[in-house]
């Protein structure tokens, strides 16, 4: 079996003066689950369409297993794709939809029967093989679309926000199922989403895209814990940025020196402490940890916890969850509150990437 390694080099694509892809280069290892993450307009879907062959870039190179794919028409690329709207053929039933790629490859009917049944079993849809597409629910259509994309065992599977049309519970369930499927089938997967949670849950690596450029390409943990710029930091989690001052090689917050884990090497003027609700602690020691003080302005009930919003003197708002397991009682709006951050979780972020 060929491996399915993808190498993208210097891909540019402009629509008029708008740069959809601004020199994208990235390597995807064989068997890897790579997510293209970014807001709408970041170029993630355009890049996926370039890989699938639906968009012709202005320049660049696309190597799949060291073969140049850039001018190859889509029907000769042999890669599976799950579309956002599923794109199932309404005039065919479930079986015929999944059998379509095999029929085009001139497989004989017993092979088709066996492979379609296997693909439908993989996505738990074998019992509905005779259904019409319009008789299926959104989740079922999603599974059929997936079966159609994997039935001919492509070495590369592309997914364009396949879960975005599903409701929250089903989406979370499908995330786990897709991840398991990837482990079983082992095909290289390029997954497009704007949902950071989805990206973190499923990916081996994440490429965060903004305005047609790859901002950071790393493991989910590194992207989340050590974002390399304000854009990536802000895209992941419920991130707030607290402005800090620079004192030579050290940093300070409201005059107090900060103990930080990572610091940018360059001396940018805009520097912030990255604060996320789960990084804040209710307790700490002044010798070891960083202390952040402010006024409670809001306490919101969330069911499993309360979200306590705190306004800092720098007129920045941060928040922390109160689950009831803490030794502290729930504060009231107007209270003065001191929160803590360990040095390991204190990350300094540069404002503008220079």
């Amino acid at each position: 079996m060929t491996s399915g390694a993808v190498s993208i080099r210097q891909i540019y694509k402009a629509y008029g003066s708008y740069k959809a892809l601004d020199g994208i280069s990235l390597d995807i290892a064989a068997g890897e689950f790579l997510t293209l993450l970014g807001p709408s307009g970041s170029g993630k879907t355009t890049l996926l369409n370039v890989i699938a062959g639906f968009e012709r870039p202005d320049s660049g190179s696309l190597l799949v297993d060291n073969t140049e794919f850039i001018t190859r028409p889509p029907h000769k690329r042999d890669l599976g794709m799950v579309f956002q709207s599923y794109a199932l053929f309404p005039h065919m039933d479930v079986f015929a939809n999944v059998a379509y790629p095999l029929k085009l490859r001139k497989a004989d009917s017993s092979t088709i029967q066996a492979k379609v049944t296997k693909a439908l079993e993989t996505v738990h849809m074998a019992h509905l093989a005779g259904r019409r597409i319009h008789e299926l629910s959104g989740g079922q259509r999603q599974r059929v679309a997936l079966a159609r994309a994997i039935v001919f065992e492509p070495k590369l599977l592309l997914m364009d926000e396949p879960l975005s049309a599903l409701d929250k519970n089903l989406r979370e369930h499908m995330q786990i199922e897709l991840k398991r499927l990837h482990r079983t089938l082992g095909m290289t997967t390029v997954y497009v989403t704007h949902d950071q949670q989805e990206a973190l849950t499923m990916s081996d690596r994440i490429a965060v895209l903004d305005r047609g450029r790859v901002m950071q390409l790393d493991t989910p943990r590194a992207i989340y814990d050590a974002p390399n710029c304000k854009f990536v930091a802000g895209f992941m989690g419920d991130t707030r940025f607290v402005p800090v001052e620079r004192n030579g090689s050290d940093f300070a917050l409201g005059g107090q020196p900060l103990k930080v884990r990572a610091a940018p090497a360059k001396s940018a003027s805009d520097i912030f402490l990255m604060v996320r609700p789960e990084r804040l602690r209710w307790h700490g020691t002044p010798e070891r940890d960083n202390r952040i003080e402010g006024n409670v302005i809001d306490v919101i009930y969330l069911g499993d916890s309360h979200m306590v919003s705190v306004e800092l003197p720098q007129s920045t708002e941060i928040s922390i969850r109160h689950t009831g397991a803490e030794a502290t009682s729930l504060p009231k709006p107007g209270d003065r509150l001191a929160l803590w951050m360990t040095p390991e979780s204190s990350v300094i972020i540069e404002g503008a990437r220079s």
């Binding site: 889509p74 029907h75 053929f89 309404p90 005039h91 015929a96 379509y100 490859r105 001919f152």
Partner: protein, 300 residues
């Protein structure tokens, strides 16, 4: 509100007011549909009942089936078959010419398609009579087309383009084409272009994607256009009468002759009733086939 309160008088609450409001809505609907209903009864149902009634009386005024028995004579059977032949040829030619145009329009950017659409709708704004006479000028023995072809040395004798079946078909195709293109274009616009991408991703060449995905999905539009044209052709009078030169005996021509030449209203009525019943049956069969087709399973 407490539990006790919500459970108490639930059945009686506002029943009369709600009933009155429902009645008022009903009256509004009747009031709004009344003019159309009266119009249909006055100009469609009553005249047709009258027509059917007249067709049952012979020339002497006696009740008989003579008018219908007459229709079995060879001349009428021939005319009946001619009518269907012309309608079928015109419909087929329209599909062959109109399908590619509709396809092109559906694939072009909206703005360009709208401009091109004007050229298709434009003939609608011109009188059928004017267009038919224009064809007469173009197609006759000394007409534009024959003159050009002769001058170019392509033909030595003028082609018989008019006063026959050819002329009738050319004229009718010109008039009927928009009736195919418009519904077909509308139905093609509803085909999601992503489906064609999906097909090519599955490995279908552009030709295969067209044949196996686009074409089957456009068939409902084709059927609508075909039914529309075919039915219009069955009762078409003006163009066959002018461009057929008396050689194309359509059913409608027979009706006109029966009144204009023989003043036989009973016979003309019988012809009309037959045409109407046949047309109605065709529409009914097509829609029934459609329902059947949408229920049965499809496949590649």
């Amino acid at each position: 509100m407490t539990m006790a309160e919500t459970h108490m008088p639930s059945i009686e609450l506002n029943t009369d007011v709600l009933q009155r409001s429902r009645r008022k809505t009903g009256l509004t609907f009747i009031g709004l549909s009344a003019p159309a209903f009266v119009l249909v009864v006055l100009v469609l149902i009553i005249p047709f009942a009258w027509l059917a009634w007249m067709s049952l009386y012979d020339a002497s005024g006696a009740l008989s089936a003579e008018n219908y028995a007459r229709l079995l004579r060879p001349a009428y059977v021939d005319s009946f078959l001619t009518t269907f032949k012309v309608a079928a040829i015109v419909t087929i030619v329209c599909v062959v010419l109109g399908y590619p145009v509709s396809y092109l329009l559906s694939q072009l950017p909206q703005k360009v398609a709208q401009i091109l659409m004007i050229f298709i709708i434009l003939p609608f704004w011109t009188s059928v009579l004017v267009r038919t006479y224009a064809w007469l000028v173009l197609l006759q023995r000394q007409g534009l087309i024959n003159t050009w072809l002769t001058n170019l040395g392509l033909i030595s004798e003028p082609l018989p383009l008019v006063n026959n079946l050819t002329g009738t078909v050319i004229g009718m195709v010109h008039i009927m084409l928009p009736f195919l293109i418009l519904p077909l274009y509308a139905s093609m616009k509803t085909i999601d272009p992503i489906l064609l991408r999906a097909a090519s991703n599955c490995g279908a060449s552009p030709a295969q994607a067209f044949r196996q995905v686009f074409l089957p999905l456009s068939l409902p539009g084709v059927a609508t256009g075909v039914a529309l044209i075919f039915v219009l052709c069955l009762g078409y009078y003006l163009t066959p009468a002018l461009l057929g030169g008396g050689r194309v005996a359509m059913w409608s021509t027979q009706i006109a002759d029966m009144i204009a030449k023989f003043a036989n209203w009973g016979a003309a009525s019988a012809l009309s009733v037959v045409l109407l019943v046949v047309t109605g049956s065709i529409l009914w069969i097509v829609s029934a086939l459609f329902k059947a087709a949408s229920v049965t399973k499809g496949g590649v």
